[in-house]
């Protein structure tokens, strides 16, 4: 089979059968691309997972782009990325055409009122998991707590400040502290 077609079909299959988001997909990608097809090595897979965590975007898509590129250059990257996106695109597109009619049924509307509560809990749970994995140091904790406080105010009092501005601010603060520490260390070094 032509490599581009193979990439497309493999990633479409991964996209179609993975529920449960990023990390479930990584396991599938590892199984298909490393073990069955031998497209990339296990070390490559570990590297791309680390890169994916430091770059924006869904991890599964990052892995698809990377594998496609390694195997067949830019065209491979495009093919693999489109392959992994296509199944969920089609499914959600179909759902989007029917959801409104669906919600007019009282039973369904009530079910969705319950689901709304589960979504809040899921987001809170995701935050708790991330906090547990965080570096137990003062600076990240302080940034985390300040960001949470500001974001709560944005939500509660409808402050006109976007979460993106908040992220840029946090990045700037962290960079400034790093630069200040650097210059302090240099001064300290000069004295000795």
């Amino acid at each position: 089979m032509h490599i581009l077609l193979d990439l497309f079909l493999t990633f479409a299959k991964i996209g179609l059968f993975t529920f449960g988001g990023g990390y479930a997909m990584i396991a599938m990608i590892e199984n298909h691309c490393v073990e069955r097809k031998g497209w990339i090595s296990h070390d490559d897979m570990m590297n791309v997972t680390v890169i994916a965590e430091s770059t924006p975007g869904p991890i599964a898509i990052n892995c698809a782009t990377f594998t496609g590129y390694k195997k067949a250059g830019i065209l491979g990257a495009v093919t693999a990325t489109l392959g992994i996106v296509l199944p969920s695109f089609l499914i959600i597109y179909l759902i989007s055409m029917f959801l409104d009619n669906f919600l007019e049924l009282t039973l369904i509307a009530n079910a969705f009122k319950g689901i709304k509560i589960a979504v809040g809990i899921l987001i809170l749970d995701a935050a708790v998991t991330m906090i547990k994995k965080m570096h137990k140091k003062k600076l990240p904790r302080a940034i985390m707590l300040c960001s949470a406080a500001v974001m709560l105010c944005i939500n509660l009092f409808a402050w006109n400040f976007s979460s993106i501005s908040l992220m840029l601010l946090a990045a700037a603060v962290s960079l400034c502290i790093f630069l200040l520490q650097g210059s302090a260390a240099k001064k300290g070094g000069a004295k000795q």
Partner: protein, 187 residues
């Protein structure tokens, strides 16, 4: 123009979506509410649908919002826009800038970004849970059905974790919440 708005809005989300699916939800919420594309209600329903269907939540939300605002081409534009930044960044990092992520200044920026994302997700989760149970600021009223469902779901998660030694999967939690919602709100 709606196509341009969708393109710019989701490019913005794609550029800043650190911290996985749940890291992107507050960003999408920001963009969606500021453009007035969906109500907070509908967006929450769609988060649940995205969690229960295959594929990354972020991409699913983009497809749905694009489709609801501007039909098929809206869905295509929003989906491509949300994927494009991470696609380009991975290409750049793997092809040209293999050491850029190890650069100490880039590392310093990431050390600020990551805890900030966690804080944003924490605040969004807290806000959603509390406004479900106690209403919004200025219009607060105890929603006893919601409070009851919240307590039951938390109990279910706790008991499942104690007995099975693993987390209740999001899909099971959503199914359970749908059943509870249909029963308790249907009374």
């Amino acid at each position: 123009m709606i196509y341009l708005d969708l393109l710019l809005g989701f490019l913005k989300v794609g550029c800043f979506a650190f911290g996985g699916a749940y890291g992107a939800i507050p960003l999408i919420r920001d963009v969606v509410l500021s453009y007035g594309w969906l109500s907070d209600e509908t967006l929450t329903y769609m988060i649940a649908v995205s969690e229960s269907t295959p594929g990354p939540i972020m991409v699913n939300l983009a497809t749905y919002i694009g489709s609801s605002q501007a039909g098929f081409w809206g869905a295509v534009i929003a989906t491509l826009a949300v994927v494009l930044p991470s696609f380009l960044i991975i290409l750049l990092v793997t092809a040209l800038l293999t050491t850029v992520l190890k650069n100490k200044y880039v590392q310093a920026i990431l050390r600020g970004l990551k805890p900030c994302v966690i804080g944003i997700v924490l605040a969004t989760g807290l806000y959603m849970v509390f406004s479900n149970c106690f209403g919004k600021v200025g219009a607060s009223a105890l929603q006893w059905e919601a409070l009851l469902i919240t307590i039951l779901l938390l109990l279910a998660m706790l008991i499942y974790k104690r007995t099975k030694k693993q987390k209740l999967s999001p899909i099971l939690l959503i199914i359970l919440s749908a059943v509870l919602g249909a029963m308790i709100y249907g009374l």
